[in-house]
């Protein structure tokens, strides 16, 4: 390797190493802050889980959006790498969606006695979960890389279009058990800070996992194996 390329390689390792170290330290700090610094929220029990639950839901929606965007890009450019990104984003989104649903149910059980009550927000996350699962069911039923990419991409875009209805319209139209603190913006600064920090950390963490997954998918693709 040439001197410049070697230097470039070292620089990249340093940057990516710093990024991961940052994520590690940051999230550790968030966990400590959640338990030691933040006050309880509005007489609810086990509110530390909120600092995990909210970022998961956020990441699930973001991943969905990402999947849809990469799908559109694929449909325009017909580059299978973009399909790898779309599917990887969906995979991550599914993971975070499951986490969000489960933590939400646990919180609901602890505070209101019922794990599931079809409250609008729970309905939303359940529908998102079903959409993700449907996407992967569709992928597994399609044969041929380009066909799978195109058709599942189309579904991903449709799901993205429906998402605003689920996330924004439904909860506003109906009564919800979901804490309305966020809606009215009347949050204690300590809570808001830790929540924002957690969301930021989670996003950085999510991006890291995403890139790892895409790298794996690309390698599989280049070896003509079925990546996803």
């Amino acid at each position: 390797m040439s001197k410049e390329a070697e230097l470039e390689g070292v620089k990249q390792s340093v940057v990516s190493g710093a990024y991961k170290a940052f994520v590690g330290v940051w999230m550790t700090g968030v966990i400590l802050a959640a338990f030691l610094y933040s006050p309880e929220i509005a007489n609810l029990k086990g509110t530390q889980i909120v600092y995990f639950h909210v970022p998961c839901a956020w990441l699930a929606s973001l991943a969905f959006l990402g999947s849809g965007i990469y799908a559109v890009l694929y449909l325009r450019r017909q580059n299978l790498e973009l399909d790898v990104k779309s599917a990887s984003a969906a995979e991550l989104g599914l993971l975070f969606c499951v986490l969000a649903t489960v933590t939400g149910a646990v919180f609901s059980k602890a505070n209101w006695g019922m794990a599931w009550n079809w409250d609008p927000r729970q309905t939303t996350i359940a529908a998102l979960l079903l959409m993700y699962l449907a996407y992967f069911a569709l992928r597994s039923a399609l044969v041929g890389a380009e066909k799978r990419a195109a058709i599942s991409g189309v579904y991903a875009v449709a799901a993205c279009v429906v998402m605003p209805f689920l996330v924004f319209v439904l909860p506003r139209a109906f009564e919800s058990l979901h804490p309305t603190v966020v809606r009215r913006g009347g949050m204690d600064p300590e809570i808001a800070v830790v929540l924002a920090a957690s969301t930021l950390g989670f996003t950085a963490f999510g991006v890291w996992i995403f890139r790892l997954r895409v790298a794996l998918g690309s390698i599989a693709l280049s070896r003509m194996e079925e990546p996803l």
């Binding site: 991961k20 994520v23 590690g24 999230m27 550790t28 966990i31 400590l32 959640a34 338990f35 030691l36 530390q48 890291w208 996992i209 790892l212 790298a215 794996l216 390698i219 280049s222």
Partner: protein, 36 residues
């Protein structure tokens, strides 16, 4: 009260575990990519 600390400890351990695992995956991917 000590409940809170116990949960915190568990959370920290889980997080560190996940983090280290991802570092491992990262290294493995790097290796695969360099082999190519």
């Amino acid at each position: 009260m000590s409940d809170r600390y116990a949960v915190m400890a568990v959370t920290l351990i889980v997080w560190i575990g996940v983090f280290l695992y991802l570092l491992r995956l990262d290294a493995m991917v790097r290796e695969l990519r360099n082999k190519k």
